[in-house]
Every structure is written in structure tokens, then in C-alpha cells.
């Protein structure tokens, strides 16, 4: 089974094609507004791997949490392709994919993505045979909140992601011994999405197309105070 992975939750746009046994091709490009690259990157990968689009048997998309613009483009591209091709889709939280990419460690893993506005998205993972298991909820908070979390855990942790790199100085020295993953693990990889999606596809744990929506952690139930719209409408 050939699965297409699309990951756009950070300034890196990453696309991959893979099977149960290997990643056939992958491409990543970092920079703002690179989500324009999603569709050309897929075309490129298909051409270079000599595959037809119709060979794709499933789609895996990274759901974030992450950057709004990228997520909208990536998730919509994945959903459109799944619908047009009539193939199953699986949505995977991008923090899970990030942690999965650095799972070959005995430490606990902290996946940390820059959320802008002085905050990070993060979650902690225990490594298990063949993967990672999340411990606790996905969080959005300032880095000192994460530092307090690390302090409370008091364990040796491997921190991965662009948020960990950005706030390294604030995080260092807190909790147990910290290790920081290098730049190559700064962003969730589409290849990890493919690897995480394939077992789910085999178990037929697909997502319904309309349930595949970006994971937004900054929630607000408030309504906009629309005095002037009413005034304008009644005028």
C-alpha cells in the first residue's frame, strides 16, 4: 500500500510517499509561505518515483497544532486528494509525528513546536516498542510553563522541535538532564506520518473526511461583540 503524507504545521512543508517497508521519496522545504509548495512537491515526488497519482492508496495528514495558514492548506490538500482518489485518510497530530521521529531513545520525549506570541505547543511521550505513547494532554503555554512541567517530572528528557531549539536557554537547567534534538528533528516529518498511518490503515481505523480538521489548541467560545454590524445592517 502506498501512502502519501502531508505535513504543514510548522514553517517546514514536508511531503512523503511510502509503503509498509520503505519511504519511497520525501521532500521538505522550510520558510514562511511555503505551503504553495504542497501540490508541486507531490507532483515532483510522483514524477521522481515514477508513480501515478492513482497508485496512492491512502493519505496521512498532520493536524497540528501549528501554524494556521499552513494547516489549512495541507489539511485541505490531503482531504481533496483523498476524496478525488476515493482512498482512506488518517489525521495525525503533528506533535505525535515529531515525537515518533526521535523515538530511538531511552529518555522520555518532549515534542515542542513554536506557537508564536511567546508560546509553545508541547506534549510528552514515553517510548515503547515500535513507537511512542503520549502522556498527558497537548498544551499551549509560555516556555516557562513547560520549564515548570519539566521540573515537576524531574526525569531525563529528550526535547525535540523548533520550539525546543528556540527556547533552549529558558529550558536548560530545569528538571532532570535535558537533551536537545538537533535541527534535523526540528519539524514533524511527512515520512513519520506515513509510518504512523499505515498500521492504522491496515486496522481500517480511517477518519471520516469531515472529521479531519486542524487541531487548534487556543480555543475561545466567546462571541464577537458586533454592535456596529447591527447598527450598519439596520441603517
Amino acid at each position: 500500500m502506498i501512502v502519501l503524507g502531508i505535513e504543514t504545521s510548522t514553517p517546514q512543508t514536508s511531503v512523503a510517499l511510502g509503503t509498509e517497508t520503505e519511504i519511497l521519496g520525501s521532500t521538505s522545504l522550510t520558510g514562511t509561505a511555503r505551503q504553495d509548495a504542497v501540490v508541486p512537491a507531490i507532483e515532483h515526488l510522483l514524477r521522481w518515483t515514477g508513480l501515478e497519482l492513482s497508485a496512492v492508496g491512502g493519505v496521512a495528514v498532520g493536524l497540528g497544532p501549528g501554524l494556521f495558514t499552513g494547516l489549512r492548506v495541507g489539511v485541505e490538500a490531503g482531504k481533496s486528494l483523498a476524496q478525488v482518489l476515493g482512498v482512506p485518510i488518517v489525521g495525525i497530530p503533528s506533535l505525535d509525528a515529531l515525537a515518533f521521529g526521535v523515538r530511538h531513545t531511552s529518555r522520555m520525549v518532549g515534542a515542542v513546536i513554536d506557537a508564536r506570541r511567546g508560546e509553545v505547543f508541547y506534549a510528552f511521550y514515553r517510548t515503547v516498542h515500535g513507537g511512542v505513547v503520549r502522556e498527558g494532554d497537548y498544551q499551549v503555554a509560555p516556555p516557562d510553563h513547560l520549564a515548570a512541567d519539566l521540573e515537576a517530572r524531574g526525569e531525563d528528557v529528550l526535547l525535540a522541535g523548533n520550539g525546543a531549539i528556540l527556547y533552549r536557554r529558558e529550558l536548560e537547567g530545569t528538571g532532570g538532564r535535558l537533551e536537545f534534538a538537533s535541527a534535523v528533528s526540528a519539524h514533524p516529518q511527512a515520512g513519520s506520518l506515513v509510518e504512523l498511518a499505515i498500521p492504522r490503515m491496515h486496522r481500517e481505523e480511517f477518519d471520516r473526511l469531515f472529521d479531519v480538521v486542524p487541531l487548534y489548541l487556543r480555543k475561545s467560545d466567546a462571541e464577537i461583540a458586533w454592535d456596529q454590524r447591527r447598527r450598519g445592517a439596520s441603517a
Binding site: 514562511t32 509561505a33 501554524l67 494556521f68 495558514t69 508564536r116 506570541r117 487548534y216 487556543r218 480555543k219 475561545s220 467560545d221 466567546a222 462571541e223 464577537i224 461583540a225 458586533w226 456596529q228 454590524r229 447598527r231 450598519g232 445592517a233 441603517a235
Partner: protein, 161 residues
């Protein structure tokens, strides 16, 4: 910092937008306030043209966000159809100011969600026999160093404030 201007014609509104465009920098946010028909989209047309964009500028009432690429990328947003704060958050304002400028129609309704430093542009629909007016107010210090130049370039439309 406040500038009050008279904009008797649509061309004036457009020209004021173009004059502002010369002073815009990446990261700027502009909140546009004014009732339906006050000239918010016309103002954005002026800004886009001033930044060298040659295409069409229409109100993004239904598309929510439109993008124009000139000297800077303009992210033109209209929140008129949105009812929930979450819908506005989902647009991701902070990312739009990464690589360009953000112009938000009905910006005053969502002021708390805008970057804390921004420029407010208030357009008023004139009553019978009145002149169309336009008031620019800087929120935060980022406009301080540019304010004098802005005042000078907008002098042709200056009214006795």
C-alpha cells in the same frame, strides 16, 4: 497620534491608501473601521496599488482572506461574516504579519485579537451635505518614527483637525 482627513471622493480615499502604502513595513497591521459603504475596500485598493500590486482588489467578505503581492504582501481580511472569536483566531493574524501587512475590515470589532501595535483607520459615511472623513490613529509606538512623514504625505487632504 491622530490625523483627521477629508476624503470627498472615492479617488481621494484610494490616494490616501496609496500614500500610506509608502510608509508600511512588514509586520504592520491596519484596522479598518466604518459602516457598509464607508470605503474600507476602496482604501485597501489604494494600499495595494501603492505597494505595486496590479491585480483586482475586492472585498473578501465571503472568502475571508485575500492576498496581494507587491513590494509587501497584503493580507486583506474581512471579519464581517464571522460571529465567534474562535473563527477569527483560526485565521491566524500573527502569521499574516510575518511576511507582509495585515489589513482587517471591521477591525474595531476584533481589536483585542489584532497585534497590540496597529494603525486604526476610521472611515465615516457622510450625512446629507457632509464631507466624507477619515481618521488615522496609531495604537502603540511603532508608528512614532514614521508619524511626521505620514502627516506630511497626507497634507493635501488635511482638514482643520
Amino acid at each position: 497620534m491622530r490625523i483627521e482627513l477629508g476624503a470627498p471622493t472615492v479617488e481621494d480615499t484610494r490616494a490616501i491608501g496609496a500614500a500610506l502604502a509608502d510608509l508600511l513595513r512588514a509586520g504592520d497591521a491596519v484596522a479598518l473601521t466604518g459602516e457598509l459603504g464607508a470605503g474600507k475596500t476602496t482604501f485597501v485598493q489604494g494600499v495595494a496599488v501603492g505597494l505595486g500590486f496590479a491585480g483586482t482588489v475586492v472585498s473578501p467578505t465571503f472568502t475571508l482572506v485575500r492576498e496581494y503581492r507587491g513590494r509587501l504582501t497584503v493580507h486583506h481580511v474581512d471579519v464581517y461574516r464571522l460571529d465567534r472569536v474562535q473563527d477569527v483566531l483560526d485565521l491566524g493574524f500573527e502569521e499574516m504579519t510575518d511576511d507582509g501587512v495585515l489589513l482587517v475590515e471591521w477591525g474595531d470589532a476584533v481589536e483585542g485579537l489584532l497585534p497590540s501595535e496597529h494603525l486604526s483607520v476610521e472611515l465615516t459615511v457622510p450625512g446629507h451635505g457632509e464631507r466624507r472623513r477619515l481618521v488615522l490613529t496609531a495604537v502603540g509606538p511603532s508608528w512614532a518614527t514614521r508619524w511626521e512623514r505620514l502627516e506630511r504625505s497626507l497634507e493635501p487632504w488635511g482638514s482643520a483637525a
